[in-house]
């Protein structure tokens, strides 16, 4: 590379003061005796000045609530797209991903892949072992009679799932309301409606805990119960510090995110609800 080219490569950093001392000296010494490079510097200096960098970033115009919503929409979109993918394809993806990521020699696993794939397929068609023995026994007693050979959800299981989805939806609405509530230090807030909803949800949770559900949902119902009891026991007119305690609990346990994920799994529109009556209506 010629000296001119070498100096040229440094000019932008030189003009924006983003250059090392040694490189700055190099440029200074060269341009002192090179009219062409002096001209180049002036041309670039004028170009940089005519295109000022933004004083603030566009993201600074958005509120913290905007970014929480941004995160939620990303998570929601991922969840929706994941629920549309066929299960069989994901097993293959997992195998390919595992082999590729860990750089396992192809020759070493070629023979084992077929056996592994067969084992995985057989394993995935067995019921997932994520229920307690009591739940598994209940699920077993609730298993429907197969008439046509295909699996059909019993009306009781469908109703429980619908109520689970409803529980999560109502919990989310309650927690969003608490999170967004405006509270003044000196002005107590009327929490009558929130206390009533909390008591309803506690009552509903007692029913849901008797139903078969996955471990994650069971834990979430348990975590929610703590917040709901706290809320139900608050005075009719709550003050800022008490509401902040509730909000802190919601935030620490990441409850809103977990509830949204659980809610989308128990979307009531997917179920036949001929026999289900919403207790609110």
């Amino acid at each position: 590379m010629s000296r001119h080219s070498q100096i040229r490569m440094l000019l932008y950093e030189y003009l924006t003061d983003d250059i090392s001392d040694s490189d700055r000296t190099l440029v200074d010494e060269h341009v002192a005796s090179c009219a062409k490079c002096r001209e180049e510097i002036e041309e670039l200096r004028a170009a940089i000045a005519s295109v000022p960098r933004p004083q603030t970033q566009p993201s600074e115009a958005q509120t913290p609530e905007y970014w929480r919503e941004f995160l939620f929409r990303v998570e929601q979109e991922i969840q929706q797209q994941s629920s549309q993918k066929p299960e069989r394809a994901s097993i293959f993806d997992e195998l390919v991903g595992f082999v590729t990521f860990h750089k396992v020699p192809v020759a070493a696993v070629a023979g084992g892949l077929a056996v592994l794939a067969l084992a995985l397929i057989l394993w995935r068609t067995e019921p997932l072992p994520n229920k307690t023995p009591m739940m598994a026994e209940r699920a077993e007693t609730q298993k429907p009679q197969h008439s046509s050979g295909g699996q059909v959800a019993s009306p009781e299981v469908t109703q429980a799932s619908a109520r689970m989805g409803d529980y999560f939806r109502r919990s989310r609405m309650l927690l969003v309301g608490i999170t967004n509530m405006r509270v003044d230090e000196d002005d107590p807030v009327d929490l009558g409606a929130e206390r009533k909803v909390s008591r309803d949800l506690i009552h509903e949770a007692r029913y849901l805990k008797q139903q078969p559900m996955d471990e994650r949902s069971a834990k979430l119902v348990g975590d929610m119960e703590k917040i709901l009891i706290e809320l139900a026991n608050m005075k009719e007119h709550g003050n800022a510090p008490n509401i902040d305690i509730i909000r802190s609990g919601i935030h620490q346990e990441n409850l809103l995110f977990k509830i949204r994920m659980a809610e989308s799994l128990y979307d009531t529109s997917r179920f036949q609800t001929a026999g289900y009556r919403n207790p609110e209506k």
């Binding site: 041309e43 295109v51 960098r53 566009p58 993201s59 970014w67 979109e77």
Partner: protein, 184 residues
């Protein structure tokens, strides 16, 4: 330390951890939004692009090898989405300059009007550049990414980045002088 922490996060995302993906998204979402906005100059589009980028990142995280950093990979995805969106809106040059309500919420004083005009001129001048020069000016000059990182994003040499930067800035100067004269 940050790089090691990030590698650990990525590994957990590959294992299916939503929490880890949430941390990564929180770390990079504003930068993604800023880059997208630099290309499309529209808040709604920038939001769509940034969100779409993270969805795609999640879906293809298993193919991420880590040869370039996660940030580089993310910027590349955002940039490609933004360039596609720009192509779809080819009438940008014919657009009227719009007041940005978030920064100018009242009747503008003289200096605010000038700032809005300048913003519009920059936008138009950028869109007159060839794609590669535009990308380099946006990433290197407007967003302050290093030459090395821009070269990784664009998959070209650092020398090429600098050449495109010089040419892009000089062309923009000419365009903006023309716009100022024509629209004054």
């Amino acid at each position: 330390m940050q790089a090691a922490n990030e590698q650990h996060l990525i590994l957990r995302v590959k294992e299916g951890s939503h929490d880890a993906f949430r941390v990564l998204t929180e770390r990079y979402m504003k930068q993604a939004y800023n880059i997208a906005y630099s290309f499309v100059h529209d808040h709604t589009d920038a939001e769509d692009i940034a969100q779409e980028a993270f969805v795609r990142i999640y879906q293809s995280i298993r193919s991420f090898r880590g040869e370039a950093g996660f940030g580089t990979w993310m910027y590349r995805i955002v940039m490609n989405l933004a360039l596609n969106r720009s192509k779809q809106r080819k009438n940008m040059a014919a657009r009227h300059v719009e007041l940005d309500e978030q920064t100018v919420g009242h009747l503008p004083a003289n200096n605010e009007q000038m700032e809005t005009d300048l913003k519009g001129h920059i936008e138009r001048a950028l869109h007159e550049l060839p794609t590669l020069q535009r990308a380099v000016v946006i990433l290197r000059h407007m967003n302050g990414l290093s030459t090395k990182q821009v070269s990784s994003i664009l998959n070209c040499s650092e020398g090429t980045v600098k050449t495109h930067l010089f040419r892009g800035l000089k062309k923009m100067r000419v365009s903006m002088e023309y716009l100022r004269d024509e629209l004054a």
